[in-house]
Symmetry: C2
Subunit: 328 residues, 2 copies
């Protein structure tokens, strides 16, 4: 009866939000919710498996849960939606310590609550490898949805924040673990462990009405540019010298005699938003965003053709095939 | 780029249903659908992990996919809803044969299509153990929802079909595999491999308006009775001699000198519906169901107290703790 008592615990812990539209949460065959009138429903799912996506040496249990929630929230934000309801499937071996599983859940639920998300269902299964599968339902009412397929030749390419930090953090973790981190190492490590989804940014981009395409940068700038290009049927040029790189990532790269811009281009898991805006709307868009206090960085433009190129100084490079992010 | 080509293949294969309300399917950060006006949204998720839920010696790859879909459909049906949209997370090792993964998906998608379900999203991740995590969204417009918590003292307890077959099938598979099955072994084995969710039955039960509580029997009759009891705050008596057991299960049990009724009580994974109807509505309910051609079996009644008991002949037994189904 271990499964049952675990579910009872989660169920007692799952909080209803004020104004909740949940008719039935955990404890029935399905969860039941009342969709908001006129809203579109967004659905996304992302899984994390031990060994592939996280390593217990680096991650505290609550961070595994928080991270699983964060990457799903990021997907909803990248469409300009509001995350609402989560379902969590968790697989673990019967030899697993209950304290570990409890902490993963605690991280997951606390993170969800911060974003007003209700945990409404899930499944616990036996598995020799620990995995977490989160499905998130969101809604979009106001503003247009941010799709991947609307970029047009002549649009400008933007991002919401510093890139390469997550990869710099991972390198730091691999080299020295979590202990004795210097001030400049702390932030990239934090960003790698539990990314901060661009919640307000996504909604603002959708409400602005100027954004023609958008994606969250989970697989590295180059890879996600290639996704936007493919879906929109256009090419893109990334201006390497315009890509925002943090001081921390710069320091970490320098200590390894590497280039922090490469971390930004190929590193992945920064979960900033990458999006396009027509050149003709640039001024209006920049006004709208700066009045909201949200920084955005122009890092390139949309071209004809189908390929993604990187301009470094005077040379126009092709992406390095071998450095493209792959979860396998 | 293996993940990408795999996803392209799935995306090309994912069929839109006539009258589809899918705004965006596979290929963006989220899937987007337009909920039907006035409908409640049902959400459920169920995972299957290799070693725990299936064994490659017994299951053909397509059956693993079909089974994962079936158990989720069953959850939507047990609430009286109509399944609509599926998201699938799949975890497999890079050493896995692509043909295996393709076949799992093909089984999953063909099964989904049979029920008018659209595959709208998912995730593929590296994992040393093969797992499948399916999330299904359904809708309920007409009729009341079938919850677990409405059973009242005096209600009658019903099921939609034969119980114990799935367990008898599993025993047969373990003893002799899939080859050279006799006629009476074939059906239980089939039912174990790919259960048939009670799609029409669930909708009819909801439309009848007579059903006070309902659950699908995934963990065995006794265990799921205990769930209904717990959620409704009442007791139940199962009349062992009224539990419908197939000729096949009877033959298999006999050959092992076991009792097929025990398979029905404790076996699990039959995915029939278990539900309650007030005694005063029995005649109307039976009329309604028989005019639809759907058989139902009265197998007990709801009592005061909180415990589930089994009447065998003249003795009233408690459930055998050691035989209660546990996925761990």
């Amino acid at each position: 009866m271990r499964e049952l008592s675990f579910i009872s615990k989660i169920r007692a812990r799952a909080a209803r939000m004020p104004g909740s539209r949940v008719v039935k949460g955990i404890g029935d065959d399905c969860a039941v919710v009342l969709p908001e009138k006129g809203a579109k429903l967004l659905l996304t799912t992302d899984s994390l498996a031990e060994g592939t996506h996280f390593n217990r040496c680096y991650f505290k249990p609550w961070e595994i849960g928080a991270r699983a929630m964060a990457v799903n929230i990021s997907d909803i934000c990248a469409m300009g939606g509001v995350p609402r309801y989560a379902l969590v499937s968790i697989g673990f071996s019967k030899k697993e310590k209950q304290g570990f599983v409890d902490s993963v859940y605690e991280g997951l639920m606390r993170y969800a609550e911060n974003y007003g998300i209700e945990l409404i269902g899930g499944d616990t299964v036996g598995s020799s490898v620990f995995f977490l599968s989160v499905t998130l339902a969101g809604e979009s009412k106001r503003g247009r949805l941010l799709m991947r397929d609307g970029a047009k030749k002549g649009d400008l390419l933007f991002t919401t924040g510093m890139l390469g930090d997550s990869y710099a953090g991972l390198l730091t973790l691999k080299r020295k673990g979590r202990e004795k981190l210097s001030a400049f190492e702390y932030l990239p490590v934090k960003k790698h462990l539990v990314p901060l989804p661009r919640y307000m940014e996504g909604r603002l981009l959708a409400e602005s009405g100027y954004v023609t395409s958008c994606i969250d940068i989970s697989d590295g700038l180059v890879n996600d540019c290639m996704q936007l290009s493919r879906e929109s049927g256009c090419g893109m040029i990334i201006e390497a010298q315009s890509v925002p790189v943090s001081h921390s990532a710069g320091m970490i790269a320098q200590s390894r005699r590497e280039n922090a811009v490469d971390y930004a281009l190929y590193g992945g898991e920064d979960f900033e938003l990458l999006f396009t805006v027509p050149k003709s709307k640039e001024a209006h868009f920049m006004n709208f965003m700066s009045s909201s206090g949200v920084p955005v960085f122009c890092i390139g433009r949309v071209t004809g053709g189908r390929s993604v190129k990187i301009r470094r100084g005077k040379s126009l490079e092709n992406p390095e095939e071998g450095r493209i992010w792959n979860h396998f």
